[in-house]
Symmetry: D3
Subunit: 130 residues, 6 copies
């Protein structure tokens, strides 16, 4: 449960509606997920965050599926249940297969393991990596 | 500085040399980076970790470059300087361009931002994501 | 659900009651939140943690509202749902308005973003900051 | 050491110079700290991050000093050495006294302690906090 | 709720059953906890993770109870609810008393506190610790 | 480098000296490590933190070596270089052998791996663990 009202389109201010309209147009779906409905409690925060997300997740030097999988990896590392759920769904919608998810998970697990080991062993950075 | 002796090939036991030989053969380079030389202080830990890394990072449903970029993203999230350095180098060696790195960073920044926001707003998971 | 019995005042030992009495007197309310009722499973841990919290959160060089907002920011960063809930309520009770919460969230998001970026770019500390 | 060239004003492109000029004007100082010089390796990432920081850290419902102290608290929680250094300096420049820093640290320590305790005890959220 | 089917023994493939049989034999119980049933969606990931866990958690230079308590400490630090629940149960099954849990929690709290303080104060490592 | 003066015994106030004396008496050594010398910039924070550490790390239901190893595990998870260095030294001084350190590292690696996996797979907590 969220203590924040989830702002539905029908009850939203024109400022919030403009963002929702852009989310719908960009994603080509009517669905607005709860993250945006919660941020809508502060229209300026909503607009700024959406603009950043829209710019960042657009196709570019990296394809949208890769970006979504990176998002899932970070969300798992940060233990953010909402983000894991929403970006796993996003990655699946963009073409992530079960086999890709399993390999992604293997990398997530390995990286979190060796991150801790490298820290604990205080491994000095190789000159080749500077 | 590491307080652990970095075990060089010349001073390594046969057990450690076998792992180093496999690292060299798998990566097709003579270079052994310090992470493995530190783990070599415990040959069993070295062997197990290398086998896991070798299996996990091999080409499969995800290509090796994508895997390395995911590794960089997690290492940045975890603030592991050694891992950031070594896997950024790895990703560059596998073809990550400066433009790809910049877009990766944008996703890393955005994901860490929205992970905290989703937690703070206690956003309930949408039914569509269950 | 917690597997730990939440120790209610009526069933508490004199040692635990003494802490509960002090919480009530300090906060000027009869309400004891679940965090303390869970810690009460170990009276020594309860007493030590409460004494630290009481001392730390008292007015001083920083006002209580600022302290609560810092608490919310850290709890969001650590993805601790209970702590986000309890300290958001605490901050609101001390005067945090929706506008203040939204600006706090903006800082929380930005800081988590740039923390990861600074790590990933391995930015050397400026001499001016040493 | 950073492997990224720190882009100095003199060698910067017009696009990067425009951001540097805005940083200088906004902060009323000639000093550009290394974080921005590193991000300048990707002008678009630099511009977007600076615009977000400028907007977020401006005076509003929260004063700039409170915002900087929240930034320090998050940076300490995330173990980001660069961010701790730069935002501690920023907070001092905005008026944080040694006594305020000490109290901030006390809250940072306490919050990180109780975040872990609340998680470990699986404390259920009080109805009053929903 | 998990969106991943929890693979029960009866519906499992021979490859998955072999792992489940080994879990049962190693732990001397019929109970398979949900973590493994979720990983079973990818049999290779299941087998690899179980083999690593089996090897790592076996008695050796450290006894199994100490290992489980370390696991609880890390899970609390990472805010992983499932891991806190499962490894707390594991530690209790191996002999952790309420008094031991309370002392473990005290160390978990203290370590998370001083980790943040050491970072924030940028404490230089003593020569004696290099 | 720390920007905080490390307060040496000779230059310390009576209040700080009293803590240093207690550290020396408790640990039966003249050595005061830098963490305390940095905290000494705020005598009240020093005294409170030391009292908490002294109480928490004393022998009890858990032995001091186990406590130090838990500390190392958390410090590695949090990527705190100072804490890894100081508590690894502490654990060695209390009897941690290289074989014990290697097994501790194996648990640290495994726990960080499976914490992320359990989060990503959104594994529901087994009834047996509630």
């Amino acid at each position: 449960m969220t203590p924040y009202e989830l702002i539905e389109y029908e009850k939203a201010s024109p400022e919030v509606r403009a963002v929702y309209d852009d989310i719908r147009a960009t994603r080509q779906t009517d669905f607005i997920n709860n993250f945006w409905k919660a941020l809508a409690n502060d229209p300026a925060l909503l607009a700024r965050t959406w603009n950043l997300a829209k710019t960042t997740m657009a196709p570019g030097a990296l394809d949208p599926l890769t970006k979504e999988m990176v998002y899932v990896a970070i969300s798992a590392t940060n233990q953010c249940p909402y983000c894991i759920a929403s970006h796993s769904a996003g990655a699946r919608a963009k073409g992530m297969t079960p086999a890709m998810f399993a390999e992604l998970m293997a990398v997530v697990g390995l990286a979190n393991m060796t991150n801790a080991l490298a820290g604990a062993f205080r491994v000095p950075v190789d000159e080749a990596f500077l």
